[in-house]
């Protein structure tokens, strides 16, 4: 996709994000202000970039998994396991390097397990990943022995709450992971093969696509993203909280992918759109906290906003809008790519 096509693909998400930001600013006028405090930028937009990191990271892996017509419910639990493993290593005095390496390896192994169940044993993804979703927290609790495993390693804490070139480290993490994954899937043929498997597994296999390896790969990428998210969450509170780390975040990640316009039925995907989706969700979360409503309203407000967003992005409504648009456009659009390409891409 060229730059213009990419912009058109994510235009609905960008518009939604802008609308949410405007809405939050209405309730909390100083929301957009960013200042420089000491070594870093401070302000609500920076908080959104930082706090949205776990969901954004999960959404990267989740986008690829969903593009293959799968789903990964275990990412929240994988976060808890990987955070626990890293905290265990660092409190055991093994050093930050070993801790991070162990956590990432754990994430890969968790992904490999999911991928094995899905690709080799042929278990439906929602069931296959449910296993680790349920068992994962128990595994994490075994590692932490049921308590919050607190550590004081400054380097580990830096991963969660440090700043680099003025931006929080977690924000760097998801932005870089997003760019890296985006480059890997789009500069290699991985993206094409993932999409082809997601659209039509059988036809792809008959065209020689090795779907087994491909599925293993996407679940491992998802596990790796969850591991990074787990490290950030643990580093942020200088402790591994097996009970609460990443709790329900798999659902926010799925929501981010859905808001990003990738169909849960697989096929065409956009990591950028999912990342914007994650930022939309985080803007809502931060906005609710800032607006000062009583906490009883938090979930209701979030649900209403999400419903509104998904309704506005629904294909039916989109078709109506496209119909209205194309009537105007038909006159001056002769050589450009047909609209239907865009529609199929969403």
């Amino acid at each position: 996709m060229n730059g213009f096509g990419l912009l058109r693909r994510v235009a609905p998400q960008l518009l939604t994000l802008a609308a949410v930001l405007v809405l939050v600013t209405l309730f909390f006028p100083s929301f957009p202000s960013v200042s420089f405090g000491g070594d870093r930028l401070v302000g609500s937009p920076i908080d959104v970039l930082k706090r949205g990191a776990p969901v954004a990271l999960l959404a990267i892996g989740m986008t690829l998994v969903i593009a293959t017509r799968g789903i990964d419910l275990s990412v929240g639990a994988i976060m808890a396991i990987c955070g626990a493993v890293a905290a265990f290593a660092v409190t055991g005095g093994w050093g930050l390097g070993v801790a991070v390496a162990l956590a990432l390896a754990t994430g890969l192994i968790c992904g490999l397990w999911n991928g094995f169940l899905v690709a080799v044993l042929g278990i439906q993804p929602i069931v296959a990943t449910l296993i680790l979703m349920v068992a994962g927290r128990g595994i994490a609790q075994l590692v932490t022995e049921g308590k919050i495993l607190t550590f004081s390693d400054a380097g580990f804490a830096y991963l969660g709450s440090g700043a680099f070139l003025g931006l929080p480290v977690p924000a760097w993490a998801w932005i870089l992971a997003g760019i890296l994954t985006g480059l890997v899937v789009r500069r290699t043929a991985l993206g094409l093969l993932i999409e082809s498997v997601g659209v039509n597994l059988r036809a792809s296999r008959l065209a020689g696509v090795n779907s087994t390896v491909l599925l293993l790969t996407v679940y491992m990428i998802s596990g790796l993203c969850a591991a990074v998210a787990g490290l950030i969450v643990a580093g942020d509170i200088k402790g591994a909280d097996a009970n609460n780390a990443g709790l329900w975040l798999e659902l926010d990640a799925i929501l981010a992918v859905a808001i990003g316009g990738t169909s849960l039925l697989g096929g065409r995907f956009s990591i950028l759109a999912s990342l914007i989706g994650a930022m939309i969700i985080q803007s809502i979360n931060t906005g609710i906290l800032l607006a000062g409503f009583p906490p009883e309203f938090n979930l209701v407000i979030k649900a209403i906003l999400v419903l509104l967003i998904l309704t506005l992005q629904s294909p039916r409504l989109g078709a109506v809008a496209a119909g209205l648009l194309s009537r105007r456009r038909r006159a001056d659009e002769a050589g450009a790519a047909p609209r239907s390409v865009q529609e199929a891409g969403q």
Binding site: R187, T188, A189, L190, L192, L193, E195, S196, V199, N200, R202, A203, S204, R205, L206, A207, G208, V209, N210, L214, G267, R268, A337, P338, S340, V341, A344
Partner: protein, 408 residues
Amino acid sequence: MAENLTLGRQPRRLGLVSRRGMRAMAREMLAGYGLSIDVERDLGSYSVAVQQIVAIARAVHLSGKVLILDEPTASLDAREVALLFDVVRNLRERGLGIVFVSHFLDQVFAISDRITVLRNGRLIATTEAAHLDRVQLINLMLGRELEQATAHGQGGRAAGGEMLRVEGLGRRGKVAPFDMTVRSGEVIGMAGLLGSGRTETAEVLFGATGADSGTVRDEKGRIDLSSPARAISAGFGFAPEDRKTDGIIGDLTLRENIALALQAHRGWARPIPRAEQRRLAEDYVRRLDIRTPGAEKPVGLLSGGNQQKVILARWLAMNPRFLILDEPTRGIDVGAHAEVLRLINEMVASGMSLLVISSELEELVAVSDRVIVVRDRRHVAQLTGHEITTDAIVRAIAAPERDTEAAE
């Protein structure tokens, strides 16, 4: 069992389902079908034949005038078929009108008074069964007259040496072990009725269905056909019968669909550059005359004939040595039909070998150097050279069993 029989019409007492009434009703419904079975057991624990009869009993109980049986014998063995036919004849005696839909010709002749032939959604003929023989029936089904034998058009093609040797390849329940040789630059036709084992042969040859017996060798030795990817590495290609579910990736563009097999073969780490993909796509759009607004059109939006050409282009881009085309001309318009045949001839001329599976006999006659006839999941005959005529093919398909082959 009783629940299945009485579902929706359960006898009630005081507003509740009466199990006793249900059992009595079920036994009464089954009376006269020659079955002595326990109506309390789960239906699933009985054989498919019994399940069929129960389904019939329920249907008869519901209307009792006309009974439509749609492929009732598809998964029954001979003894069960006999049991079922007894029931059907019994019902006929009781005055029911019965419509028996099947592609098993023996059975059609065994049970029918009148035979109606449908083809491509049209009524072709309705005839007294007694006035029809198997060959005539198959001619009606395939839409051609026995006398109208098309001349074999490929006498002049010079096939090369032996390229592949298939020995005893088969898969239980799909296709019986078969032998086959493929020479370079020849077209092997494959004829047979739907469900006769044609597609299964193709899938076993391509590794889409794992073979449980036999080998395939070329001059270098045994070829691993354990998956489509391996088969492709061995220089095989396969354009499947059902384009929509097995062939095209509907949401992807024409360019991506054409590049897919080549890309999968190169591996994900060695992407085909976008410009190269576009050149490839545009090249084949021109060569195969694919009608599309552009290479970026999702292939699902193209017509059937153009989709078929896209799949052909996907394989031509691989330059395979052995390409299997399963019903390459089904559901495409006349113009595209002729072009596909022209392409087949071009491919063979370039040294490629093809296995063409088709229900269109004149098409087979026109392009094939040899024709293999498949019946009841077996390769039963091979016609070569001047033997290849439509009526010879029809006879080979029709021959019910060995003892009637004298008719040929």
